[in-house]
């Protein structure tokens, strides 16, 4: 029972990481730095809460969330591909923009500076009393389209990168855009497609957060986009390894939450794990992380 609860909670915590990291892998493999995962997620979480609240339907929330997050990704693509702006600068700015815009419209839409009203989520099994923490309720909480999407996302990205023509092109423009161009492929178009798809995938992570907590709260992503980016780097931009990294980071968090009462390790040290591991991986102490060759470079 404890093990089941641990596994279920790990998977639920991992869901936004898996979704955002799949977007991160796709974007970075196409050569666009994914510092914006945080901003895309926050935007999509807010749009999901708005959609779900006004339509009283989580599905509308899902659509709005994906639309909002993908729009944020389109802004990123416009600035960094069309206008060849510095991707790091634009990435940081879009994260700031997402915080500001969601705060502003939180006040405009719900007249609050902290959170939205309660919104419907994807819960189809509602238990009360003891049953609410029983095995049935635990397993039922996983039957959620977004949790399933999280499980599928990285394997799907792996398959696309390995088997589809689009995947090959993404890898080509991430490593050597000139080579792709000489074959008649427009690197800009491939990058646009990859960033928009990455935005949609990452948005699912933001939608999950808002609908799972049944509300939008100010800055609710709280660095999860950066943890996903850390997972993408720690997993050396290979989808299967990235998935393992996401689950590993989530398991560490779950461990900390479940053992909170024992005060074994301060929570701040658990928070540090993904970031410290990423720095270590970049330094190449264990299995050097090597980024795509054309990452961050505008197309000539």
């Amino acid at each position: 029972m404890i093990i089941l609860a641990f596994l279920v909670q790990t998977l639920r915590i991992a869901t936004p990481y898996l979704l955002a990291a799949s977007g991160g892998v796709l974007s970075e493999r196409a050569g666009i730095i994914a510092l914006t995962l945080e901003g895309w997620m926050l935007t999509s979480a807010f749009c999901a809460a708005v959609g779900s609240f006004y339509a009283q339907s989580p599905w509308v929330g899902l659509l709005c969330g994906v639309a909002g997050g993908t729009a944020a990704a389109a802004l990123h693509a416009l600035a960094s591909i069309r206008y060849r702006a510095n991707q790091v600068v634009v990435g940081i700015a879009i994260n700031l923009l997402a915080i500001g815009v969601t705060r502003f419209f939180l006040r405009l839409a719900f007249d609050s500076s902290s959170n939205s009203p309660r919104v419907p989520g994807f819960d189809w099994y509602v238990a009360s009393g003891d049953a609410a923490s029983g095995p049935v309720a635990l397993l039922a909480s996983l039957v959620n389209p977004l949790v399933i999407a999280g499980i599928v996302a990285l394997p799907a990205v792996a398959w696309v990168l390995a088997n589809l023509r689009f995947g090959l092109r993404v890898r080509a423009v991430g490593e050597k855009p000139e080579a792709a161009e000489s074959l008649g492929v427009s690197p800009a178009r491939v990058r646009w497609a990859a960033v928009l798809a990455a935005g949609a995938l990452t948005s699912l992570g933001g939608v999950y957060l808002a609908l799972d907590q049944h509300q939008f709260t100010d800055n609710m992503t709280a660095g999860r986009g950066f943890i996903a980016l850390a997972a993408a780097i720690f997993g050396n931009w290979r989808p299967t390894r990235v998935a393992v990294a996401c689950v590993l980071f989530a398991a560490a968090e779950t461990f900390q939450i479940q053992l909170q009462g024992l005060q074994l390790i301060p929570s701040q040290f658990v928070e540090m794990i993904p970031y410290v591991l990423t720095i270590v991986a970049l330094a190449g102490v264990v299995g050097r992380a090597v980024p795509p060759a054309a990452l961050g470079k505008p197309i000539g």
Partner: protein
């Protein structure tokens, strides 16, 4: 387009930021109108609440002081060809070190000794945090962008833990008040600033900007640093140790951001408080960008962003103060987009004229 050409053109220096401000103003109008208010009235309040009275001006100067340090920290890194996203953590570490130094000293140590001691501690605290990505870049070629971002989280979590576990006062998230090293507020000289946080650190900020300018453009080491940023391969060929320059630039950048902690800790509250950096490190990126990475441009850009930031509070009664967060981000994106775009347009115009 090389960094040299980007920096040389007068048109890009002034035109791009102006276009960016215009775009920000348009976005601002849309936000204000969406809240059912008149843009003119909001902008009038914004100016009135910042430059229109001594208290507002004092707050602007206080915020601009911290932003000057973080802006210089980002600008110095960029001059060496490195993107320092770590100013947030460096600033926090500097403030923490200054507070520790102030707590360590017994009460009654004269300011002439205590203040420099705390300042050195602040610079050292930020410098250590900056040195880590510098060393990893020099030794392993690890991306300083990712390392500084990740290190921000690590440093802030570590400081939060130290304060939460050992140093906080009562239910608060701050350390005890320092025993020595406090700096006077500007209101002690000019009573009009009464109530505002502006303090003597502003003099340190101006002096530091001047010192960075002197270092970059008047010393051998500054030349080596700029050469590394402009053309690392050529610099290496010319006998410059690029790895060492990267390490030195990041350490200095960290120290600059760390010194910014003096403004809050010695000048304002006289203690370290969790979260005091409050995004000033990230805003430093905007400041460096708009200030064109120049020690003279950085303080001016810091004033601009401090005005926008303080202006948010001034207009909060009729439009949400969060509007200014949006405007700040729009300015950054617009500058990032218009600088290469203006250069491209100028180049194509020049071609048309000459052909």
């Amino acid at each position: 387009m090389s960094a040299r050409a980007a920096e040389g053109s007068l048109a890009t220096t002034w035109l791009a930021p102006l276009v960016a401000l215009l775009i920000a103003a348009i976005v601002g109008d849309i936000l204000i109108l969406s809240f059912g208010q008149a843009p003119g009235e909001v902008y009038r309040l914004l100016i009135e609440g910042t430059w229109g009275n001594a208290y507002g001006l004092g707050q602007v100067l206080y915020k601009a002081t911290t932003l000057t340090f973080t802006g210089l920290a980002v600008a110095l890194g960029l001059r060496a060809g490195l993107f320092n996203i770590g100013a947030e953590g460096q600033l926090a570490a500097g403030g923490f070190a200054a507070a520790m130094a102030g707590l360590l000293l017994p009460a009654g140590v004269p300011a002439i000794l205590a203040v420099p001691f705390c300042m050195v501690a602040a610079a050292a605290g930020g410098g250590v945090v900056g040195a880590v990505p510098g060393a990893l870049k020099a030794r392993f070629g690890a991306s300083e962008v990712i390392v500084t971002i990740m290190l921000n989280f690590v440093v802030l979590a570590l400081l939060n833990w130290i304060v939460a576990a050992n140093l906080h006062v009562g239910e608060s998230l701050h350390t005890p008040t320092i025993n020595a090293g406090a700096l006077p507020r500007l209101s002690e000289v000019a009573p009009g600033f009464h109530g505002s946080a502006a303090n003597a650190t502003i003099i340190l900020a101006i002096a530091t900007a001047a010192a960075v300018g002197w270092f970059l453009f008047r010393t051998r080491a500054g030349y080596d640093l700029r050469a590394t940023g402009l053309q690392p391969d050529a610099a290496e060929y010319g006998g410059i140790n690029v790895g060492r320059e990267h390490f030195r630039a990041m350490t200095m950048a960290g120290a600059l951001a760390g010194l910014g902690g003096v403004n809050f800790v010695l000048g304002y509250k006289q203690y370290y408080e969790e979260g005091f950096a409050a995004g000033a490190g990230f805003l430093g990126i905007a400041v460096a960008l708009v200030g064109r990475n120049h020690p003279a441009g950085v303080p001016l850009a810091a004033l601009l962003f401090a005005t926008i930031s303080q202006g948010g509070l001034a207009v909060n009664a009729i439009v949400p103060k969060q509007m200014v967060e949006v405007l700040t981000a729009v300015v950054i994106i617009a500058v990032a987009v218009t600088v290469p775009e203006v250069q491209r347009l100028l180049a194509s115009t020049a071609r048309r004229v000459t052909s």
